[in-house]
């Protein structure tokens, strides 16, 4: 077989993404129809920048879902090497293709003769699994600590701010090296850290419900039980793993295990992001707590946590949402950095950072194995940035 021309490669790639195009078309169509009822998200459809950002972001989210959940889009197994395909240029026909095999390496082969295109697609699934969740946890941690720091001020504020600055003064990579090295994982430190960090969202939800339903004790206990018991179980399953430092749950009750490496990556990403979120939340709280409606809540006898979580937090949502989008982007970059230094994730993992690192060794001769994941990462982060920009512009409009 002849190698494919660039046009043919492009056409085949576009075709390969068909499920994503359908999902995108459906999303945009529906959102356009109901845009007047969708609040800030709906207003995004008046904003060209934000729309481009949304498109890029959703493109990779759908790609990840299609590849991760249904095994669509990817043409080959991202981990299998095919002999003779090492460092082959894009569009090379598959050597010794059997029936049912996709006959080409659309974006060529990497240094270990794996399909670059499939690895790129598989890499998106890793990012989409980790980045939003890790960012979410970082936000919960940052908010849970930032609200009281800003609201109460005083010594609590000084201590927390000092701690946040302490983490921020660390060069990020040093922190990663310190947290992710096997010796430290062995010592159980990340497990303890994760036990602490993952507890904060539970605390957050507990406070949220408690503050709201304080006036009605029966409803309060019921709500707390309904929400916190399952979450507590999930929490225990998450942090306890057989053989690790924290083996709290008997194996029969342990719902799931997260691979140690992923957990460590998760924890370090939260650890790096939370102080920045803390600072943002603290600043917003300092501003919002001077509003009359906060004084009004105080004069009707609301507790401090109700005021923080139900009076202040909802009004800080604009900047927080914008920062959330930006921060998913940073997290994606951080994940790439981790992969680039070979930290945390297994060396043959198809995540973008690792792939870029692997590809850079022969960069001057075979650039394609590194460029494909680089472009993928770039487009996702760009999308998130544009989305954040669009959201910021629209939220400032009224």
């Amino acid at each position: 077989m002849e190698p494919l021309s660039w046009g043919a490669i492009a056409a085949r790639i576009l075709l390969q993404f068909l499920p994503v195009w359908i999902a995108l078309a459906a999303t945009f169509g529906l959102s356009w129809v109901y845009r007047s009822k969708l609040g800030l998200y709906g207003k995004l459809f008046d904003n060209r920048i934000g729309l481009i950002g949304l498109f890029l972001t959703l493109f990779w989210v759908y790609t990840a879902l299609a590849a991760g959940l249904f095994d669509w889009i990817a043409t080959h197994d991202p981990l299998t090497a095919v002999s003779g395909m090492k460092n082959k240029v894009p569009g090379t026909p598959l050597r010794g293709a059997e029936d049912g095999d996709y006959p080409y390496y659309l974006l060529g082969g990497d240094g270990l003769a794996r399909d670059v295109f499939s690895r790129m697609v598989a890499g998106s699934w890793i990012v989409v699994q980790i980045a939003p969740l890790a960012t979410l946890f970082a936000f919960m941690a940052g908010i849970t600590l930032g609200l009281p720091a800003g609201y109460f001020g005083g010594r609590l504020d000084s201590v927390l701010t000092f701690a946040a600055n302490l983490i921020l003064a660390f060069p990020v990579i040093l922190l990663f090296y310190l947290l992710v090295t096997p010796e430290i994982v062995e010592s159980g430190l990340p497990a303890y850290l994760s036990a602490g960090l993952f507890l904060l969202p539970l605390v957050f939800l507990g406070l949220l419900i408690n503050a709201r339903a304080r006036t009605n004790p029966r409803r309060r206990w019921m709500l707390l039980a309904v929400v916190l018991l399952p979450l507590g179980w999930a929490y225990l399953s998450l942090i306890s793993a057989e053989g690790s430092a924290l083996d709290l749950l008997p194996a029969t009750l342990d719902l799931f295990d997260v691979p140690g490496g992923i957990l460590v990556v998760f924890v370090s990403v939260i650890f790096v992001n939370a102080p920045t979120v803390f600072r943002l939340t603290r600043g917003l709280t300092l501003d919002l707590k001077t509003r009359d409606y906060v004084a009004a809540a105080q004069t009707r006898g609301e507790g401090p946590w109700y005021i923080m979580l139900w009076e202040i937090l909802p009004n800080a949502r604009g900047p927080l949402i914008v920062d959330f989008c930006l921060r998913i982007g940073y997290t994606t970059i951080l994940l790439g950095t981790l992969g680039f230094f070979g930290l945390g994730l297994p060396p043959d993992s198809p995540d973008w950072g690792t792939t870029i690192n692997a590809g850079r060794k022969l960069l001057s001769i075979f650039p394609h194995p590194a460029i494909a994941p680089a472009v993928a990462l770039l487009s996702l982060v760009l999308g998130l940035n544009l989305l954040a920009d669009g959201l910021r512009e629209e939220s400032l409009k009224d």
């Binding site: 302490l166 950095t337 960069l363």
Partner: protein, 347 residues
Amino acid sequence: MILFLLRRLGVMLLTALCLSLIVFALTNLPANLEKIAKFEGNARMSDAQVESWLEKNGYAQPMLVRYGEWLGAWPGWTRTDETGEYGRCVPVGGTIADSPARCGILQGEWGESRVFREDVGPFIATRLALTGKMMFWVMVLMVPMALVIGVLAGMREGSKLDRGLSTLSILTTATPEYVSGVILIAVFASSAFGLKWFKGTATSAMENATFENFFLPVLTIALFGMGYIARMTRASMAEVMTSQYIRTARLKGLPFREIVLKHALRNALIAPFTVIMLQFPWLLNGVVIVETLFNYKGLGWALVQAAGNNDVDLLLGISLVSVVVVLLTQLISDIGYVYLNPRIRIA
């Protein structure tokens, strides 16, 4: 002002102490010590041998004591046996009596790098100088470009120029160094595209930096930071341009150029100034990536080597230096903020 500086210096010292303690604790976990013992002694040591090696070399003491020794606040360990006198501060073959009681950071003893077999102090000094050279050129390239782009974009918000420049800055912030570095090398330094304008490595730039071997790494770091600063400048400039005192200036009859230069610029630069300074921790991050990518043996490169090999003294030294650099820049940013913003006076 003096009081303020002293207070800030106090906080800085406290931060540096806390951080070095954390790093010390993390690099001196039992598993790490075992690795050190096997590295120094013999890779096939038994557990008992490891223990006795640690005992002999002062590693069996409580962690805080060893931290004190490293700091130089606590007397170094000593041991006398039939083979001679040993101690933290005792040179091989020397005697306890001839050696100083304390040898740590406070005495100017940074320890010895296990990987490079060199004294950490001078080693870090050379690496820091190399990284400093790179950072200097990064700043020279990045700051003026970022400010010009930001000011031009924010000057007339919503114009075509603004749209174009803003998109450019978003694009550069969305491109981490390992992506832009890879793309830049692929395009300008590889045979694949045929444009061999620059060199793909900066090793030779350590001795003799030229445009050819130094531009790409510098550009790679500068690009990532530039977008961020430019966006901050733009936002700040756009806000200033809608403020009332700019309207006052306009209605005084000032031409646009003078409004921008005389009235808007100084106010608009207050916010980005702090941002530039706070960029430092992130720039250090970029330095590590770029030094690795371009094989430039500066501080970032040394950090990767030290962290990868659990080179305790070197790692501690580097983290101390980087923390001090970060805190110093924060201090400078605070002082500069006061200088730029007359509304804040120092008590």
